[in-house]
Symmetry: C2
Amino acid sequence: METGKLLTERVADEIVRNIIGKELKPGDKLPNEFELAAKLGVGRSTVREAIKTLVSRSVVEIRRGAGTFVSARSGVSEDPLGLQFLDDKVRVATDLLELRFVVEPRLASLAAGRSTPEQLDELMQLCDACEKKMLAGEDFSSENTAFHAAIARASGNIVVPNLAVILCGPPSMLPGMPSRQAREEMARTNREILTAIAAHDGMAAYDAMLLHLAQCRRSITEQSLK
Amino acid sequence: METGKLLTERVADEIVRNIIGKELKPGDKLPNEFELAAKLGVGRSTVREAIKTLVSRSVVEIRRGAGTFVSARSGVSEDPLGLQFLDDKVRVATDLLELRFVVEPRLASLAAGRSTPEQLDELMQLCDACEKKMLAGEDFSSENTAFHAAIARASGNIVVPNLAVILCGPPSMLPGMPSRQAREEMARTNREILTAIAAHDGMAAYDAMLLHLAQCRRSITEQSLK
């Protein structure tokens, strides 16, 4: 690593500490280049390089003509697991799902025990929005991801939400739409998960999530055979 | 995002596709700046910017005077879950461990069913190396991470290894060394995991991993009370 690189990295880390120290939230604006350079005692070109590094790390984003802002991704990069390096996309989809079988039933169970009334309200709205798209035969991937990510947040584990973005995130790497029957079944099991969480019934939430994932797996198999 | 940024990103993606297409492995050398610029039909400064982006994404690394090489991290960034943004380090350690309880017993069970003879050999060597450090009272975190990451690889799931690097990776965010009793118990349960995997006994591997993690949790509690 070149010396210049090291200085840039140090400045980038310093900016991250500033973001954390000032409790800046996603969407908050950072001080401009001049102010950062003065504050950190380095040149503007170093600040500019450091900001570029932080853009690559999904810590900040540049909005043209408006400035630099804290990214909504909170440092979770676009492809944190390096899945772009894995060639077999059907295998990736299958193995991601295998992992969701490991993780999500237990998260649903934790959510049943720990979710707050506000989180339950959010889950209801997201479940409704997702169901509507599923039954209308429209692309529901972002709504479904949002619902499952909210369940992960409701688990109360602070590491999990960022992980859930990864596991449920890639908006289906398979082309095509699940069959009508598959979509109805997914909507139904999503609703069962919600009901169990709302009833604080951890075991029922666990089972409903397993059912939902089994349905997803069947649907991936059907789609990959098309 | 500025226009210049977009070109850099496009060139970076093109370089990634080149790495995948040519099946370059970690440690392999990339063509130099001149060759890449000519091949991709862009200026050298753009290539240089793109390379910097890929360094930030942990896709490549620059070795001074030697060139640019494919990184061993395969695009898994230093902090893929954005844990640097989470303030309460004891809580992060506790919640990471909660997640390991969810994931690792099942991975051990999968490894018992799917591991190859070569993977078993590797597991034995790593278990020995880790045990030695544990019983000598030396820092064993990287050996322990290596053992658990190898179990994850032996699960046969292609997404999991990169995840395991994240979950088991941060070399204990807590200061201090576990007690002698804790270290002996961790060494013993690691050995039990290995024996169960070698016997292709999935349920015993599951149970031994649970025991190991319970021991880790107890040790974190002890250390955070110190």
